[in-house]
Amino acid sequence: MKSINNTINLENLVYTKPSLMNSNITHYCPGCSHGVVHKLVAEVIANMNLEEQTIGIASVGCSVFIYNYIDIDWIGAAHGRAPAVATAVKRLNPNKMVFTYQGDGDLAAIGTAETIHACNRGENIVIIFINNAIYGMTGGQMAPTTILKMQTATCPYGRDISLNGYPLQISNILAQIEGTCLVSREAVFSTKTIKKSKKILCKAFKNAMSGKGTSIIEFISTCTSGWKMSPIQANKWMIKNMLPIYPLGVLKDK
């Protein structure tokens, strides 16, 4: 019988850890989408040979500690202000690759003004937007993107239109703005969606370096702790309940 050890060799190696991801154990919950999106970001930067030119702008939320995992220069912005911080970094260093990494509360609630105006100025940056319809870090409160009837710590009886309004379709709004060149909604729940996400992320980074304007890549994501689900349940729930409200695909590509 053939031993497994004969199979484990270099020529059979089909997958490695991205060179820019270090060995720190992440603080993310099992089944959280941050891990895969981090990996994609690290891969794209390395593939494009941009590690010495890239400055990432972290936001406030679970990804506030992203600097612990991806070995590039990072600036931690105040809650919602990452697009303003990125604006200055890119304007003062036009040859650098500048991107923000923001959650739904950061981008679509407290930072709405900064997001819309950075896009309206057509800042040559990439905005990576994690939409899991909840505030993960603070313990699962309602987000602007929380879907109707979804239960959270601050809408325990379900999101109610009369009290909380509607899930904010922020990417659709951003697609309407002249300054954006690429707006796309992606997800990372399958090999197919991960491969597609990486391709579009690569395009976004190229746009920023060639000065085409602002690119926004929204990732419909899971939050197993906030949703109180197992990783498998969370993916299933997301596909069933979130994707009809936030359908995947390119909203704008000019």
Binding site: E52, I55, F65, I72, W74, I75, R81, A88, L92, A113
Partner: protein, 359 residues
């Protein structure tokens, strides 16, 4: 080359910023300081020195642009007036927490709330005692002339970079709007990326191959490490208090009646002192130029020589608290203040001096 011009205080700030080699200005319009951004944009420094001038969507965005620029080791600044400065406090606290240098100009107007567009000094507490959240200090300069408005741009940014800490020029509508002769410094070159990397190895300009990444953040969830960070900040503040105090004394050698005032109130009080001297009153003026660090030690030395002190401010009594601390309440400290945008005349202050002396 140096150049002599007749300028408003606000315009002087703009010209000085270009000449000092500032990399970026980010602002939002508000009276009475809009000439700063208007002058910068009119001068188009991006075509000469390469300085970026950008009108932000809000004061909040503007200070966060300063945060971003400072993180890259760039000389960056913003300006506003009282209500706008309130909005910037979050960003200033984050800059202090992340130890970022940067210059903020406050051309104060009367408050609270939307208040008035007329001059005031009512933001002393906000500026000197904190403003934003957390235990932090910012370096505060109080110009009393158009010349000092220009000079404090370089002074503020130098101190900000020396201590990796935000600095503020605390001016007001009088100094911002009045016109005076000013000597502008010669044109400096902006620092190149190579120079910035060498001078400020902490700057986030993209990770060098052999180096660890640079991380700019104010977050630290481990309380013991956060306490250690706070202790380091406090040590830095003590160094600033020891080394960077600036003040001016006017007719203080034989002074019998001392006025303490800063900025525009000091300018008006100076005139009152001149008139008082003319009628045989031995008045003098002590003007703190740095409000933080406050000239505690020097003011303390007056407590043995004088019967009392008069603090003149365009507010209801704010710096007076620091003057009382400086003299350890050993002598009475009186206050004369006008507020809500009213600027006192030298005559008013003179009457106050006379009344106090005759008491």
């Amino acid at each position: 080359m140096e150049e002599i011009k007749l300028l408003k205080g606000n315009e002087a700030i703009a010209y000085a910023a270009i000449r000092y080699g500032v990399d970026g200005y980010f602002g939002y319009p508000i009276t009475p300081q809009s000439e700063i951004m208007e002058t910068l944009i009119k001068e188009r420094p991006w075509e000469t020195t390469g300085m970026i001038v950008l009108q932000a969507e809000s004061e909040i965005a503007a200070i966060n642009m300063v945060y971003g620029g400072a993180a890259c080791g760039k000389k960056v600044m913003t300006s506003s007036s009282s209500p706008g400065i309130s909005l910037k406090q979050e960003g200033i606290s984050y800059m202090a927490g992340a130890e970022l240098p940067g210059l903020i100009v406050n051309v104060m107007r009367g408050g609270p709330g939307l208040g008035t567009i007329q001059p005031s000094q009512a933001d002393y507490f906000q500026t000197v005692k904190g403003g934003g959240h957390g235990d932090y200090k910012i370096i505060v300069l109080a110009p009393n002339s158009v010349q000092e408005m220009a000079d404090h741009v370089a002074l503020g940014l130098n101190l900000a970079f020396k201590y990796k800490n935000p600095a503020m020029i605390l001016s007001d509508g009088v100094i911002g709007q009045m016109m005076e002769k000013v000597i502008l410094p010669k044109q400096c070159q902006r620092k190149t990326e190579r120079e910035i990397r060498k001078s400020y190895p902490w700057a986030t300009l993209g990770k060098s191959k052999s180096c660890k990444p640079n991380i700019i953040t104010s977050v630290e969830l481990d309380s013991f490490l956060m306490e250690a960070r706070n202790l380091r900040f406090q040590k830095k503040y003590r160094t600033i208090e020891k080394n960077e105090v600036l003040y001016e004394e006017f007719f203080c050698d034989d002074v019998e009646y001392l006025i303490v005032a800063f900025g525009s109130a000091a300018r008006i009080s100076q005139k009152a002192v001149e008139i008082a001297r003319g009628i045989g009153i031995k008045a003098g003026l002590f003007r703190p130029i740095t409000l933080y660090p406050f000239p505690m030690k020097k003011l303390n030395s007056y407590k043995e020589k004088l019967k009392d002190i008069l603090v003149v401010e365009l507010n209801a009594g704010q710096m007076i608290e620091d003057v009382k601390l400086a003299v350890e309440c050993k002598i009475p400290v009186k206050h004369y203040g006008r507020f809500g945008g009213i600027v006192p005349t030298p005559q008013e202050i003179l009457e106050k001096i006379k009344n106090e002396i005759n008491k």
